[in-house]
Structure formats: structure tokens, C-alpha cells
Symmetry: C2
Subunit: 162 residues, 2 copies
């Protein structure tokens, strides 16, 4: 397995993962019916860098890193992670999150923020907690879950600087 | 006085206000040395709508409204407000914030969120509190203030639906 920087050509392998997660609408603030063009912009072009997690030349996961706010906020990055449904429960999100923290430090960021974690996504919240992130905000009914209705979204944060 | 939707032609009058506020770097997550082109994108093109506050055909303030997160988050909007330094303390921010809440309701939004309020900007925090916003998040040292150093940034939120 390896985690390497993605090229635009990798998008063909990222798109099925992205589309499935957007359509489920349980974890990300992306449109359910997102187009390939929108996804390419959101995941590859707009972020500062994008990575893929590969095993036997198969893309099983991907993440992006971007500056969360410009100017006085540009020392804080934001990341998003996606794992193929067939490859979940194998520690790929953990590996990518740890990798992203190393990349963040190398790029000079002092903190990492997740802006919009559905509180119903308990596995993710538990994982980010384990990896050192704290819940620093709770947005009441900000996430419209397809089966649970309006649930709170969390803001999670980790200071990276030693 | 009036508040009306801005056109791209209004940008010439918005730009001096924007540039002064970005250069001060005390309140917004924008680059200090922002270019006109970036500002036009951030304030006019990227948001859903932009408004100006006018008095005697002079632009004294401006605000934008945008969808804060897509898909499961698209019922929550985000706004940003700027008032010309010569016109502060006259209730223009209050008038624009109240106007923006009416516009938000008319556009179908159920809540309004401010993502990045410098905790050092005590006047703004007091004003948003007075207008019904609660502090729902505190981002430790997320705002690098030019004279105060790293200060917390606040996430503020108001449910608009009756």
C-alpha cells in the first residue's frame, strides 16, 4: 500500500468513491446529484493538494488538504477523507488522517479543522477523537440527514504545532 | 438610505471598503494584500447574492449571502458584512444584518452561520449576540491578529425558522 499525491488522471478512480458518498448524503456537504465536473473542482482543483491511498494499483481512499481561511486564518488547514465502501474498517481513514497531519506540518500549517462533521457519523467522530481532534463547535440542526432528519454538525479541531 | 442588490458595476465603490478591511487583517479571513480580481470573486461572483447600503448615492456598506455547505447543509447560509470606516457606529451593520435575515428567509434558508468571527472583535460579537446569534463554536488560536497575536475565532449561529 502507499499514499501518494493524486494527479488529474486519478480522478477516474476517485469519482466512483466520491459519487457513492455524495449520493448517500450521510457524511459530506456535497450535493447528492453532484456532477463529475463539480466533483473534479471540489476534490482536485480547489484544494491545495489531493492524495490517493493505493493497494495493488487500486485506489481505495483519497483525501484533500486546503487552507481553511485566508489571511489571518491561513495557518489552519482543512481536510476531507473518503474510503471506498468495499475497503472500510481496515484503518485506511486512520492512515490517511495521520499522513495528512504530516503533510500539514510540512506545508507549515499549525492546526487542522473539520468544519462539518455530521454528529450522526459516530464512527468518524470516535476516530477523529482517537487521533487527537476535539469537538470545538456544535451547529444545531445544520446537517439534514436523509433518514434521521436534522441533526447537529460538529466542528472538530487539532493544534498540530508541538 | 436604501439597501439594494449590487451589480458588478458597484464593485468600484465596494473595493475601497474591502481593501481597507482586508489590509487591517483584524476581522476577515482574506489576504492582507488581496487583489481587486480576488475581491471581485470573493464578494460578488462566488456568493449567491450581494447587496449595498447606500445613502445619497454613496455606498457605505455591503454584504453577501451564500450557501454555507452544499447538499445536507444547504439550508444554512453564511453572510459577511462590511461598513466603510467613515460610516461606522451608525447602525449600518445592524440594518444590513436584519435585511440579510429577511433575504435568507425569502431564499428558503433555515439558519445563518458566521464561520470565523475574531474573538477580539468584541463590537461585532456583541452586535451579533444582540441580533439573536449564539456562539456555538470556539476555534482555539485560529485567528492571527496583527497586534494581539493568535486569538480564538468564534462560530456564531442563528436558527431563522419560526
Amino acid at each position: 500500500m502507499s499514499i501518494r499525491e493524486a494527479t488529474r488522471d486519478d480522478f477516474a478512480h476517485i469519482w466512483p468513491i466520491f459519487q457513492e458518498i455524495a449520493a448517500a448524503a450521510e457524511t459530506y456537504g456535497y450535493p447528492r446529484d453532484v456532477t463529475q465536473e463539480q466533483a473534479l473542482h471540489l476534490w482536485i482543483d480547489a484544494p491545495r493538494k489531493t492524495y490517493v491511498f493505493e493497494e495493488n494499483e487500486q485506489v481505495l481512499g483519497t483525501y484533500y488538504i486546503r487552507t481553511n481561511q485566508l489571511g489571518p486564518g491561513d495557518h489552519v488547514c482543512n481536510c476531507g477523507y473518503m474510503v471506498s465502501s468495499a475497503a472500510r474498517g481496515r484503518g485506511i481513514a486512520t492512515a490517511m488522517c495521520e499522513h495528512s497531519q504530516e503533510i500539514a506540518r510540512a506545508l507549515g500549517y499549525k492546526a487542522m479543522q473539520f468544519n462539518f462533521v455530521a454528529s450522526s457519523n459516530e464512527g468518524a467522530v470516535r476516530l477523529w477523537n482517537k487521533l487527537g481532534f476535539s469537538t470545538v463547535g456544535r451547529l444545531p440542526k445544520a446537517f439534514h440527514h436523509p433518514s434521521k432528519g436534522y441533526v447537529d454538525a460538529l466542528v472538530m479541531y487539532k493544534w498540530l504545532d508541538k
